[in-house]
Each structure stands twice: as structure tokens, then as C-alpha cells.
């Protein structure tokens, strides 16, 4: 059409495609590692409802709005919802998984340092979505 050679565009497209392949491969590898749940992970059932979080530990202890965990252990969250969609989020540990009524979604994490972190809802769930918050308290091992 334009009568000139188009090789600079092909080189450019080649570079872009190579970059995308690299990003895709790295992301695939990272996600594969992240999704591998350790066998000894303790299960915590997380329930989202308008507009608070409840947590149930393996030993039956229940907590509302606060979650106590110990450094060095791995935890698997089983996330459910009692009403509408929510999204369970501990931003500091890149924990994010939707709580969807009728489904059980899982995600895991292993806290590395003692301290407190914010828990929040990241999916719009109505009137008080903005204040559907909680606290993660990471404690030193008890034994």
C-alpha cells in the first residue's frame, strides 16, 4: 500500500511479543508456586456477611472481626459468604479471594513476622462495604 518496507514495525512487534511471552511465563511460574498449598496448613473458615468477617479455627474457636494466627505456621482459608459477594483481603500478605454465596474458595498464607495487619473487603457489597474491615494479629508461637 504505502510502498515502503515495513521492517521496523516487524522488529518492534517481535520485541513486544517476546516481552509478553516473558511476562506470561514468569507469571505462570510464580502463580504455580503460590497456589501450592502446604500439606500441614491449618484450616480457617472465613465467613463474609454484610458487613463483617467471622473466623472459625480448626479447634472450633470463633472470632469476629479479629483473626489471631501464629508466626511460622501455614494457614489455609476456606472462604464462604452468607449473603452477597465479598472479597477477603489481607493486602500486606497479598491474600485476596472472593467470598461468593454457594461456593467455597480457598487461599493460603504463612505469616512471617509478629504484628498486626488490616483485613478488608475488596468487593462491593452494599451500604457499609467501606467499613467491612478487620484486623489480623500475628503472634509469636505459643509453645
Amino acid at each position: 500500500m504505502s510502498g515502503h518496507s515495513n521492517w521496523p514495525e516487524w522488529i518492534y512487534i517481535g520485541v513486544v511479543v517476546a516481552l509478553m511471552v516473558w511476562v506470561g511465563a514468569e507469571a505462570w511460574e510464580a502463580e504455580r508456586l503460590v497456589e501450592h498449598v502446604p500439606a500441614d496448613a491449618e484450616t480457617i473458615i472465613v465467613t463474609g456477611q454484610q458487613w463483617f468477617w467471622t473466623f472459625e479455627h480448626e479447634d472450633g474457636t470463633k472470632e469476629i472481626g479479629e483473626l489471631h494466627v501464629e508466626v511460622g505456621k501455614a494457614y489455609k482459608f476456606e472462604i464462604i459468604s452468607k449473603d452477597v459477594n465479598h472479597s477477603f483481603n489481607i493486602h500486606d500478605y497479598v491474600v485476596l479471594m472472593d467470598a461468593i454465596p454457594g461456593r467455597v474458595n480457598t487461599v493460603w498464607f504463612a505469616p512471617t513476622d509478629v504484628g498486626t495487619h488490616d483485613i478488608q473487603c475488596r468487593e462491593y457489597c452494599g451500604l457499609i462495604h467501606y467499613n467491612m474491615r478487620g484486623t489480623l494479629i500475628v503472634e509469636a508461637p505459643s509453645s
Partner: protein, 509 residues
């Protein structure tokens, strides 16, 4: 040519006209009215978030309604009708036909927009532009929610009618001497985006009906209490609305293809690669919808498939950017207002695309998903790319629509302030997202970084607001009292333009 201000004719004659330049004018005025309405809501949102605690909006429900109507308005009542306006003015002339293929259908498609807009604005729903079930079924207050559903239904039909018209006009009504390979890129953009609409919209149209019957309690498609699944809605919605992103952006890219070669005083670098990228984008646009759903509990395999589909769209977008830069390279560029908007738009398009790659990569998405990062990301597209291209096109069309020139200095000030404002608001929102602030929140805890980022964003929004007031003053004043334009070559860059005034409007003599 539409010179209503110089040769006044009764308003009803324009309103009931089916001529493409008249329908184009109706689309233009309607879309600009909604731009200012929707923009005002954006300023209210930013003012509210300037500090933690309630500022100007008294309660969360009002805030939720405002951001829902803000998004719905600017996507469906500004971007799409504005593109239809440009298509109406230019497509028939570019394919050398007397009008759109179906003039009455064209007018009907336009006249569905005002009632739909009225339903959305009078209802003022609160369930976000995604109408998230089961919230929208069991919790969202009516009749606002139902009015929103009907409004969107009407807009969907309007889009489909418009798309049919553009496709038939371009493919069947183009001049017999003209091959499809000679159709200008702006018209190609309408062909591509119209084809996407025909494939994508029916899915959401079905989902809307299911949502309505779910709300009425006679079905439970998306209601888990009745055995349904909200994830089904997510698939139906995003199957329409990820391709819809390309419906929004492709005409804006087409507008840049019209403007950039003229002001670079060079032919487009590669017409073929522009066409190829449009067609490629229309196809791969359908392979990426579920990247909006990584966090809904999808399997590793599903996520991988949609990540690959999403990354596949990047080279096609990159081809457009290359084409624009290569066209400008060694050109004798004249930076009139329309050109400035386009060049700014390309820069922001590139930034938006780069941010999109981060969202597509699975592990990174869990950091950015549903935070302000995403808000910043898609606003760089809808504001930074689409609105910038559209506003550039508006300045470019202005002398043809009114016969007068806009004020060039005010146009450049409008651009400079909007560009600075857009960077301040939406780049900052990316950072805010990395700090973890969720989107769609009425209030936030007093975390110092969050406050600082929100304040920068609010200042940026106010700068955009002021620039838009300058814009409004400029177009109102100039359309009545501006200098008379040299309609053969209003920008003094030479060459031949497409002249909307060559369209034979039967109402003009």
C-alpha cells in the same frame, strides 16, 4: 453542512430529521450534555474522598449511587453516543454515500438514548455499573435498580441498531469504485467496533433479562438461595464488556488515524497495519474476558488461558502506537489543539496498556484487583485515551459543524490542564491501589499514604473540572461568535479533508 447557527432552522426539523449530519448533531449535543453531567458526579466523588470521614456527601448510599451513575453515564451516554456522532458525520462521506444505509433506523437508534438516560438518572441505582448479583437481586433498592436494567436494555438495542447501520453502510453502500482496502481507517474503526457489538451485546442483553426476572423472584439464575450462581453472571457480563472495551477504544483510535496524518502533513505510516490491528483486536478481544475474574476462585488452568488471551491483545494495541509514532516521525507537525489531544492520548494509551500487562499477570492481579489501581488503569483508557481522542476529534470537527473556529488558546489551555489533571488523578490512583485502598468505598481509615494520594487525585480532578469549564465556555461562545472558519482548510495544514458540508442535507438548499 450543519450551520444551524448561521442559517437557523426550527429545532423540530433537526429533531425529526433522519439525515446523517442531523442525527450526528443530535448525538453530539446529547453526548456532551452527559459528559458534563457525569463529570460533575466525578468531582463530587473526588471531593468526598479528599479526607477520611463524610465530606460533602452525607451518606454511603448516596455515594454508592453517585459512582454507579457516574460510570454508567460516561460509558454509555457519553463515549458511545459521541463515537456515533463522529461516525454519522464521517462514515457516509468516507464511503461516498448519500446517507447512512437505513436513515430511519439511525434516527430511532438515537432516540432510544434520551429515555434510557432518563431512566438511569431518575432511578439513580447503587449496585455499581457491574450490577453485581446477588447484591443487585436481594439487596439493591428498587425501583432504581429496575430502571437501570431497563435503561441499559434500551441502550443495548440502540447500540445493536447503530452497529447494523454502520456495517451495512460501509460494506454495501460504499461507492462501487472504492474497494474495502481504500476505506479510510476511521471508517474501518467503525466497521470493527460494530462487528464486536453484534457479537458481544446479546450475551449481556440475556443477562439483563435474567437479572430482572431474578429480582422479580420468578427465577434464580444468579441467586444462590434459589440454586443459581453469581459467577454465571460474571461470565455473561464480561463476555460482553471486555470486548466492549474495544468497542469504546477502537473508534477513538480511528479518530486519531484521521487527525495525526493531517497535522503531521504525511500519509499514515502503514494503512495495512492499521486495518490488521483493528481486525486482530476485534478477534482477540473475545479471548480475555475472564481476566476480570481471577479472584473468584478460578482454576489455575482457566486463569492461564485467560492470561494468554489477554496478553495476545497487547501486540495489536502496540501496532497502533507504532503507527502513530512512525507517522509523526520526520513529519512537519503542526500542534494545533486536535493534534495535542491525540498525542497526549497516545502517551496515556501507552501508559494504560503497560499497567494492563501488570493486571493480566496472574500473581500481580491479586495485588491490584478491586483496588484503586484498577480504577486508575481503566480511567487511563476511558479518560486518557478515549476521551482525549474524542475531544481532539470534537475540536477537529468544530469548524465543520459550526462554520466557526474555536479559540485556539483556550483549546490548548484545556488540553494542558486536562493532561496534567489526568496524570495527577489516575497515575496517583495506581499507587493508591498498591497501598491497598479498595475501590467503591465511601470512606477510608486515616492511613497517611492513602490521605496523601487521595488529596493529589482530588486536586487533579479539580484541575480537569476547571479545564472542562473552559472547554464549555469555548464551544458555546465560539459556536455563536467565533471567527469564521476557512472551511476548505480550517487548520492551515493543506491537503484535502473530508468535508461534512459536502453531505447533501435535504433541509439545506
Amino acid at each position: 453542512m450543519v450551520l444551524e447557527l448561521q442559517k437557523p432552522r426550527p429545532v423540530w426539523q433537526i429533531m425529526f430529521s433522519t439525515h446523517h449530519t442531523d442525527v450526528g448533531l443530535l448525538y453530539l449535543i446529547t453526548s456532551l450534555a452527559f459528559l458534563f453531567l457525569g463529570g460533575t458526579l466525578a468531582l463530587a466523588i473526588r471531593a468526598e474522598l479528599f479526607l477520611p470521614g463524610a465530606q460533602i456527601i452525607g451518606d454511603a448510599m448516596t455515594f454508592n449511587r453517585i459512582f454507579t451513575v457516574h460510570g454508567t453515564t460516561l460509558i454509555f451516554l457519553f463515549i458511545i453516543p459521541f463515537a456515533s456522532s463522529v461516525g454519522n458525520y464521517y462514515v457516509p462521506i468516507m464511503v461516498r454515500y448519500k446517507d447512512m444505509a437505513y436513515p430511519k433506523l439511525n434516527a430511532i437508534a438515537f432516540w432510544m438514548i434520551p429515555p434510557a438516560g432518563a431512566l438511569i438518572w431518575l432511578g439513580f441505582a447503587d449496585f455499581t455499573w457491574y450490577a453485581t448479583p446477588p447484591y443487585s437481586i436481594i439487596s439493591a433498592p428498587g425501583p432504581a435498580a429496575d430502571m437501570w436494567i431497563f435503561g441499559l436494555k434500551i441502550l443495548g438495542i440502540s447500540s445493536v441498531l447503530g452497529a447494523i447501520n454502520f456495517i451495512v453502510t460501509i460494506l454495501k453502500c460504499k461507492h462501487p469504485d472504492m474497494s474495502i482496502g481504500q476505506v479510510p481507517l476511521l471508517a474501518w474503526s467503525f466497521l470493527s467496533s460494530s462487528l464486536i457489538i453484534l457479537v458481544a451485546i446479546p450475551t449481556f442483553a440475556a443477562a439483563l433479562l435474567m437479572l430482572l426476572t431474578d429480582r422479580l423472584g420468578v427465577s434464580g439464575f444468579f441467586n444462590p438461595a434459589m440454586g443459581g450462581d453469581p459467577i454465571a453472571y460474571a461470565h455473561l457480563f464480561w463476555f460482553t464488556f471486555h470486548p466492549e472495551v474495544y468497542v469504546l477504544v477502537i473508534p477513538a483510535i480511528g479518530m486519531m488515524y484521521e487527525i495525526i496524518p493531517r497535522f503531521s502533513r504525511k500519509p499514515i505510516y502503514s494503512y495495512n497495519s492499521g486495518v490488521f490491528a483493528f481486525v486482530l483486536l476485534s478477534i482477540v478481544g473475545f479471548s480475555s474476558w475472564a481476566h476480570h475474574m481471577y479472584a473468584t476462585g478460578m482454576s489455575f488452568t482457566e486463569k492461564t488461558v485467560f492470561m494468554v488471551g489477554t496478553l495476545a491483545a497487547v501486540p495489536a494495541s502496540a501496532m497502533h502506537v507504532f503507527n502513530f509514532v512512525a507517522t509523526m516521525w520526520n513529519g512537519r507537525i503542526k500542534f494545533s489543539t486536535p493534534m495535542m489531544w491525540c498525542v497526549g492520548g497516545i502517551a496515556l494509551f501507552f501508559s494504560a496498556g503497560a499497567g494492563g500487562v501488570a493486571n493480566a499477570a496472574m500473581p500481580l492481579d491479586f495485588t491490584t484487583h478491586d483496588t484503586y489501581w484498577v480504577v486508575g488503569h481503566f480511567h487511563l483508557f476511558v479518560m486518557g485515551t478515549i476521551a482525549f481522542g474524542s475531544i481532539g476529534m470534537l475540536y477537529y470537527m468544530f469548524p465543520y459543524v459550526t462554520g466557526r473556529m474555536y479559540n485556539e488558546t483556550m483549546g490548548k489551555v484545556h488540553f494542558a490542564m486536562s493532561f496534567i489533571g489526568t496524570v495527577l488523578v489516575f497515575f496517583t490512583q495506581h499507587v493508591l491501589g498498591l497501598y491497598g485502598m479498595p475501590r467503591r468505598v465511601f470512606d477510608y481509615p486515616p492511613i497517611p499514604e492513602w490521605i496523601a494520594m487521595n488529596q493529589i487525585a482530588t486536586v487533579g480532578a479539580m484541575i480537569i473540572g476547571i479545564s472542562m469549564a473552559i472547554f464549555l465556555a469555548n464551544i458555546i461562545y465560539s459556536s455563536g461568535k467565533g471567527k469564521l472558519a476557512n472551511t476548505e482548510d480550517p487548520f492551515g495544514v493543506g491537503g484535502k479533508y473530508y468535508y461534512p458540508f459536502e453531505a447533501k442535507n435535504p433541509h439545506h438548499d
